[in-house]
Symmetry: C2
Subunit: 351 residues, 2 copies
């Protein structure tokens, strides 16, 4: 096992495949099927590999405590339902969203190519992960993809005084002719819940505008946001109504349209340790080869060049691709103590 | 003609149908076909009726000068192309987007109902109007709808130093069981270009964060933003990269995917007086009757109730519906001098 330290930072560099195997072992040891373990490990290892730390290994203890609590079914078998030529549904059966998506993926892509556009509506699902891994593969197949997932009530609607929306991220991916896909993944909240948790653990303050305390007052203390307070929608002083409108759209598309729960509807009070929201997810993909005029991936390249010429140094997704290349060449950076904990969670074969 | 004044505000109240008829006459007198005039008049009169002043009668002089400049073809005949079961394209043939949309509308709705989801890709089109009138009718037919249009380079990408994106609005509509549809229409720029123009005419300042001057420095002076400066993406100090990512998505979906121009690609320098961007528009609609589980419009009602319970006083679209009811009951409020100018533009029958 290759775990060279990085000196004073207490980081180790773990080969990607080794990390993925340890994650599979952790998931299976805590009650998932092999299929579910593979889907979750792929997602989590990819986030860590790409430097998306708040959705990488940081999430593993949350997955484990959720599985232990009985809140999610780690062995759920998703049921795919063909509703119409462009409309595919999946009942995740109280399992994770990623294996449900995987079960429907090939049929979904066939529908997109046959119809020009199709949607995949996942319900009764738990999404506890970064969202961009759900759209990047579609762009690598030449498709344009958009996805939304609602989560758990922690965001105050614009003008309101009570948490209602989830952080409700939107992710988008589009193929380029000469480079990795353009991919973004943005919370419709002022920041991601995971980033507030990380700031709380690290003892950092957060900027004003990120959240409010239990009295609805603006605060810079992450603990006040997490304990009875709430996040604000993104948009800033004059634009939070726009972030709030987008968060509402995510509730309607990811929950109402799929048949899943709204972010404020599920009750996990009987499952102490549960952390994954039990909601829904919508994925829409388009086949741009039907476009009139020029090749879409070339056009995307034209826009990328124009953004660079306008002074935008990095395009959406670039930071992840840069870290991905380093991780694959040298190993994935992991906090040494965190890695030791994960090996313990994985059990005897790795302990 | 009923034009009672409103006292010191110098407003007149014009019956909706009379206003619409005057607008039709203006458009036809300045070179559009009767079909194009009807589509544009419906849109503009609806915006004024609903209190969306920056996209109401305020736009008419811009339409007229654009038509006079020869930049747009007011008699263009759109060509509808059936690309795939879920993919419809329209070549607007250098005409306005609204008549192109109208030409494809019925076939589009049939595709949505047959496939569960469909898209309408409009290219070579001029969109100089509010966007919500394009989605509200779909929601009134029980469909969920999303549309995006790119415009003209006036927004700096996040981290950049040059205007590149348009104000690139996104509009969304969803049907409710017990009320008018939930509808929002938001510019991905910090504010709409029309609102900056109105502030400039009124001599008002705008908040910091709305735009930069010709040197890329933040400014509160609308004229400095309009004359060589640029708007910023929405999102505020810590979230403008999100607004910028959404603006990029609009360029890709409304232009690259449709076969239209990016916001920075068209050259109207040979057409002094031209104001309407020559780009593209994407409309996506979904039939929520295929949803697993409960009725979508009922679920929408549940969310509306929850938003009200969380303290959100007005739901997206409510302000427009309230003004609409007043306008239909008492006449549409119009500045008296503006109305006189419009009557002159309409020519002899009304002058």
């Amino acid at each position: 096992m290759t775990t060279p330290t990085l000196g004073p930072t207490d980081q180790v560099l773990i080969p990607f495949d080794e990390m993925r195997a340890v994650l599979c072992q952790i998931f299976e040891r805590h009650g998932t099927s092999a299929e579910v373990a593979a889907a979750l490990a792929d997602n989590c290892a990819a986030a860590q590999r790409d430097g998306a730390m708040s959705h990488g290994l940081f999430r593993i203890p949350g997955y484990v405590s959720t599985l232990k609590s009985g809140w999610v079914d780690g062995k759920a078998v998703p049921v795919v339902e063909d509703k119409a030529p462009g409309f595919l549904s999946v009942d995740a059966a109280n399992g994770y969203a990623q294996p449900a998506y995987r079960a429907a993926y090939e049929a979904f892509v066939r529908k997109v190519r046959a119809n020009g556009i199709a949607l995949l509506a996942i319900r009764r699902s738990h999404h506890f992960a970064a969202l961009w891994p759900d759209v990047e593969p579609l762009a690598r197949e030449g498709l344009v993809a958009l996805t939304m997932v609602n989560s758990m009530a922690c965001v105050v609607p614009s003008g309101g005084n009570k948490a209602l929306f989830g952080t409700n991220p939107i992710a988008f991916a589009a193929p380029r002719e000469n480079g990795d896909p353009l991919v973004f993944d943005l919370a419709t909240s002022a920041t991601a819940h995971g980033d507030i948790q990380i700031a709380a653990r690290a003892g950092h303050e957060v900027p004003i505008g990120y959240g409010v305390d239990r009295h609805g007052e603006p605060t810079t203390k992450p603990k006040e946001i997490l304990e009875g307070g709430a996040l604000l929608p993104f948009g800033g002083e004059h634009g939070a109504h726009k972030g709030s409108a987008l968060a509402m759209m995510v509730e309607l598309l990811a929950a109402a349209l799929t048949g899943g729960n709204f972010s404020f509807e599920f009750d996990w009070s009987q499952h102490p340790g549960a952390q994954s929201p039990y909601t829904g997810q919508l994925i829409i993909a388009i086949d741009p080869s039907l476009t009139s005029g020029q090749n879409f991936a070339q056009r995307c390249e034209t826009l990328v060049q124009a953004m660079a010429d306008a002074g935008q140094q990095r395009q959406p997704g670039d930071r992840r691709y840069e870290q991905r290349a380093r991780s694959m060449a040298h190993g994935v950076p992991v906090d040494a103590a965190q890695w030791q904990q994960l090996l313990e969670l994985a059990g005897p074969a790795h302990a």
